[in-house]
Amino acid sequence: MVVVKRFVLQVHRKSDMSKAVVDLPPKGGFSFDLCRRNEMLISKGVHPPSFRKTGTTIVGLVFKDGVILGADTRATEGPIVCDKNCEKIHYIAPNIYCCGAGTAADTEAVTDMVSSQLQLHRYHTGRESRVITALTLLKSHLFSYQGYVSAALVLGGVDITGPHLHTIYPHGSTDTLPFATMGSGSLAAMAVFESKFREGLTREEGIELVCEAICSGIFNDLGSGSNVDVCVITKGHKEYLRNHQMPNPRTYVSSKGYTFPKGLTEVLTTKITPLKEKVEVIEGNDAMEE
């Protein structure tokens, strides 16, 4: 798991950080000391290693019978695509799913944690989980980490009070919307939603619109790509359509394979080093004791 903003080389040994009173015992909660150090190092020109972000286009919309969530499947590490088919729609509860944009480790860890908490809550109450419960757990956690947990989420589900769709920002603010997009491809997807969304869409229309919005992100945003994942949640039923659309198939696979005749690679120099025998093998008569 890649850790956010942790540096490999420590240029300055901790001389300037600990000017504040150090004798107090740690009170608990997140310690921001290392964040100050990181900022100081950036100002001196030392850059952190790149970490796996999910680039991403994630969307959600409310339709006649519930909510539909959609996501692309490309995960990037700087300019490199590190996962061509990752899963960005995370399970929170049987009736609640969450799309995650931002740092992949953060979205996965935070959704797993809230999913586990909701399971315990379901046992204690004997009731189906509500979307606002998931929302409140997520936003409280993100707020307490002051935006350092880089997770931007689209949370959707159907509970006893009806269908709900929310967006959650890394600093902990939330919106409640009939249609929402997040991630680097959010503008491309929002353009599609703004022109084509209307209330009371049917399931087929909703899925088509979600796919169109994600495809808009896939083709117009570098941080998004590969396939479209869709999740349809209705009262008492959910459908996780993994790779519902695959508009970027691999077309260059040669069935014959590749042959490389000898002499294709030019040999520049040849150096042969005979290995010296350093081990003396003595014919022993005593077997090693077990």
């Binding site: 797993d112 944690m113 586990s116 399971q119 315990l120 046992y123 204690h124």
Partner: protein, 235 residues
């Protein structure tokens, strides 16, 4: 844990080498309502009496058999409030296991961890042992399993067991009736008959509770209507 003045353990050895507090805890269990469990070839059933202190008590609000995970359930004999605490702790432990290993906790592991909690309370400062014995029923990759956990923290795997008031009669009855190739339905009937043995008054779906788990690995508590159906079959 507890005030520093009470940081000594309340559970101490007697000259004969017994832990008297645990013996007393077992007595508390022995005076609790009867509960029993039977492991069948294709599932496990656990059952208990649900005698309420008055007819005015809303019997639907009392649930003595509780799920710990989707495939593990538990019933008790003894003190209800102590049971609630253990159920909460066990559920949390099961979730923590899942968070760590992304695997559903095996029955033996959950039993072990629950037993460790119960043992802790026999060796810590300022606390008393739990006044419950648990019967844990589960179905995982090792098949159907039934475990009994005592206030001391010891646990045993049983083919069939009983706890509480009528334990000796119930166990004798189970010894006679138990067969290794029992099916889950037969086990439910046997459980009902065993409860009937020591039952005071008219047995019905409202004053007993039954929990079952089969090859579907889904632990569930039977509704009073379902219990009445089984009772009708047994008559």
């Amino acid at each position: 844990m507890g005030d520093s003045q009470y940081s000594f353990s309340l559970t101490t050895f007697s000259p004969s080498g017994k832990l008297v507090q645990i013996e007393y805890a077992l007595m508390a269990v022995g005076s609790g309502q009867t509960s029993l469990g039977i492991k069948a070839a294709n599932g496990v059933v656990i059952a208990t009496e649900k005698k309420l202190p008055s007819i005015l008590v809303d019997e639907a609000s009392v649930q003595k058999i509780q799920p710990l995970t989707t495939n593990i359930g538990v019933v008790y004999s003894g003190m209800g409030p102590d049971f609630r605490v253990l159920v909460r702790k066990s559920r949390k432990q099961a979730q923590q296991y899942f968070r760590l290993y992304k695997e559903q906790i095996p029955v033996t592991q959950l039993v072990r961890e629950t037993a460790a909690v119960m043992q802790e309370f026999t060796q810590s400062g300022g606390v008393r042992p739990f006044g419950v014995s648990l019967l844990v029923a589960g179905f995982d990759d090792d098949g159907p399993q039934l475990y009994q956990v005592d206030p001391s923290g010891s646990y045993f795997s049983w083919k069939a067991s009983a706890m509480g008031k009528n334990v000796s009669n119930a166990k004798t009855f189970l010894e006679k009736r138990y067969t290794d190739d029992m099916e889950l339905d037969d086990a439910v009937h046997t459980a009902i008959l065993t409860l009937k043995e020591g039952f005071e008054g008219q047995i019905s779906g409202k004053n007993i509770e039954i929990g079952i788990i089969g090859t579907d690995r889904n632990f569930r508590v039977l509704t009073p209507a379902e219990i009445d159906d089984y009772l009708a079959e047994v008559e």
